[in-house]
């Protein structure tokens, strides 16, 4: 039995989020280049045009600067009715001061999007779903979207099978793109190749219904990142979108007490009008994010892409979905669907993400340390503020922070940049001159 795909080969994809849709899109694009006709089914029970939770895949909703550029180069331009707001800058908020990081080009290259039709209390639907846009792209390339939830899989004479009560479908390749927030991972446990769920932590997301003009006035086109002293919160962010601002909190299993403390803390209060009582929105969720990858995300005729395999630590999950989906599609079209092919051609891209996450863990440990030593935190922000008048390539701390918080560059690049002695000299200087607390809070 050949492991190479050919005209008429059948591919089943479980999950029509970014990983599943991008896999289908690239698979069919590469097959077209090879003049090969494939039969592709995407099983996705959600209707992404629905308001949350019916159409939402629970995420902060940021498409990183690097991913925007890669997709544009691939010929995928995210339409205006999906991009709720272009982001061109970041504002860092700490207990003592704020700093703004602008892109040297002053160009909007980060997209704030909603994964589904919008939050629960959306009054008028003005923007379209990002996941819906990608699924439509896959559909335009020839994939068939099947609005069914898969609850059973098995093997049929060496080929994977999707089993429903009334009928079963056998595939030459089965792709798992089930994320980490559904029970979909259990399906791959049923296939008996040793798959186990990735390690996850609970985050928190809420949508504040403030209206377009108020959001523009309060947050502009900047993403606001908060480094607070709240225990177990790594960082939090307010992402301005269309009618809503998304609040995302990352840390060690975020609970209600941490959420309440966050909304009351000074840096957050300073972003809202005095008479407005910041409180969680009607639409909120506690999605899990992947913290550690699955060691072996494949077997013969089965491969996992996106979060249910590996994702980037803390950010750019959609970017990781793009990388894994494309690497898997390249493997199956130009090589084969055997486990040897996945090991040789898919795993290098997968391991680049997982190795990078190890570096990311070290960087976040360093950030925690800096955050605990107040002069170092002050030094960091003062250096960022001073750098804004310098040419782009001399904004060493700003570039580092930009890449760290936007997810635009791999963590290894952040680490390499931090090895520059000129960076350290300046950082030490700014920290040493920040031993005394500022006379007033600089906001």
């Amino acid at each position: 039995m050949s492991f190479e795909l050919d005209d008429g080969s059948k591919i089943g994809i479980i999950g029509g989020g970014p990983a599943g849709s991008m896999f289908a899109y690239f698979l069919l694009t590469f097959a077209e280049r090879m003049e090969m006709e494939l039969d592709v089914d995407i099983y996705e029970p959600r209707d992404f045009s629905q308001l949350a939770p019916g159409g939402c895949n629970m995420c902060g909703g940021i498409v990183s600067e690097s991913l925007i550029q890669y997709l544009a180069t691939e010929g995928i331009n995210i339409p205006d009715n999906v991009v709720q707001r272009g982001i061109d800058s970041y504002e860092l908020h700490t207990e003592e001061m704020d700093a703004r990081i602008e892109t040297p080009l002053q160009e909007m290259r980060i997209a704030a999007i909603h994964r589904g039709g919008g939050p629960r209390d959306t009054k008028e639907v003005k923007w379209s779903s990002f996941d819906g846009f990608l699924l439509e792209l896959a559909h335009e390339m020839g994939a068939r979207a099947i609005p069914k939830r898969v609850s059973k899989v098995g093997w049929d004479d060496g080929k994977p099978q999707i089993i429903f009560k009334e009928e079963s479908f056998t595939y030459d390749l089965l792709v798992g793109a089930v994320g980490v927030n559904s029970a979909g991972w259990k399906l791959f446990d049923q296939l008996g190749f040793g798959y186990r769920k990735p390690e996850t932590v609970k985050t928190y997301i809420t949508e504040l219904n403030l209206g377009y003009d108020t959001i523009t006035e309060l947050f502009g086109s900047s993403m606001h990142v908060f480094l607070t002293n709240i225990p177990r919160v790594d960082f939090a962010a307010v992402i301005p979108k269309g009618e809503f601002a998304t609040v995302a909190m990352l840390g060690d299993n975020i609970d209600q007490e941490m959420i309440d403390t966050f909304f009351k803390c000074a840096p957050v209060r300073s972003c809202f009008p005095e008479d407005w009582e910041p409180s969680p929105g009607i639409c909120h969720c506690s999605p899990k994010i992947s913290m550690k990858e699955v060691p072996v995300p494949y077997t013969d005729r089965v491969v996992l892409v996106g979060d249910c395999g590996a994702s980037r630590l803390y950010k750019d999950g959609i970017g990781a979905a793009y990388r894994t989906a494309k690497a898997a599609a390249l493997t199956v079209v130009f090589q084969s669907v055997s486990k040897e092919a996945f090991k040789k051609y898919y795993m290098p891209a997968y391991k680049r993400i997982t190795f990078d996450n190890r570096i990311g863990l070290l960087i976040f440990a360093a950030i925690h340390l800096i955050h605990k030593v107040t002069p170092l935190t002050r030094g960091t922000l003062k250096m960022v503020i001073q750098e804004q008048s310098l040419p782009g390539n001399r904004r060493r701390m700003s570039i580092l922070m930009w890449n760290l918080f936007t997810g635009s560059a791999p963590y290894r690049e952040v680490a390499i940049r931090s090895l520059d002695p000129r960076f350290w000299l300046k950082f030490i200087w700014f920290s040493a001159t920040s031993l005394r607390a500022p006379k007033k809070i600089e906001r």
Binding site: Y70, A72, G75, N77, M108, R109, A111, T216, K326
Partner: protein
């Protein structure tokens, strides 16, 4: 004339009618993707501008700067209002090193340009013969 969907807050940077996006002779370290609107590609010779092409939404322009260490071969000017996004040379080349297939669309475009130039050259030669 088709209406332009220029919306504040969308991706890229807005250019006014006739505004120059990149200029012939200048060093180039990026290419551009047209998010919305149209641009004209112009060659300037002895102070005379000749329009050599017109591009619209979704098209990529200035890609030769990614592969050559040569100054920009043409000027690109906005025709009406447009919104353009910059694609960094370094970010692109780093990613191409990991995933060479990323360059496929650009190779396809360059191949199309060579085909079009061959046809125009053939036409010019035929005209000379007559």
């Amino acid at each position: 004339m088709k209406p332009l969907a220029i919306r504040k807050g969308a991706l890229g940077k807005e250019y006014a009618d006739q505004e120059i996006i990149c200029r012939q002779g200048e060093p180039g370290n990026c290419m551009y993707v047209i998010q919305s609107g149209d641009v004209v590609v112009l060659r300037e010779e002895d102070g005379v501008e000749v329009a050599v092409g017109e591009l619209g939404t979704g098209d990529v322009v200035g890609e030769m700067a990614i592969f050559e260490k040569q100054p920009r071969s043409a000027t690109v000017r906005s025709k009406g209002r447009s919104r353009i996004m910059t694609l960094d040379k370094r970010a692109f080349l780093r990613r191409v090193h990991e995933d060479p297939s990323l360059a496929y669309k650009i190779m396809q475009k360059l191949s199309g340009t060579i085909r079009r130039l061959n046809e125009e050259l053939e036409q010019l030669k035929r005209n000379q013969e007559y």
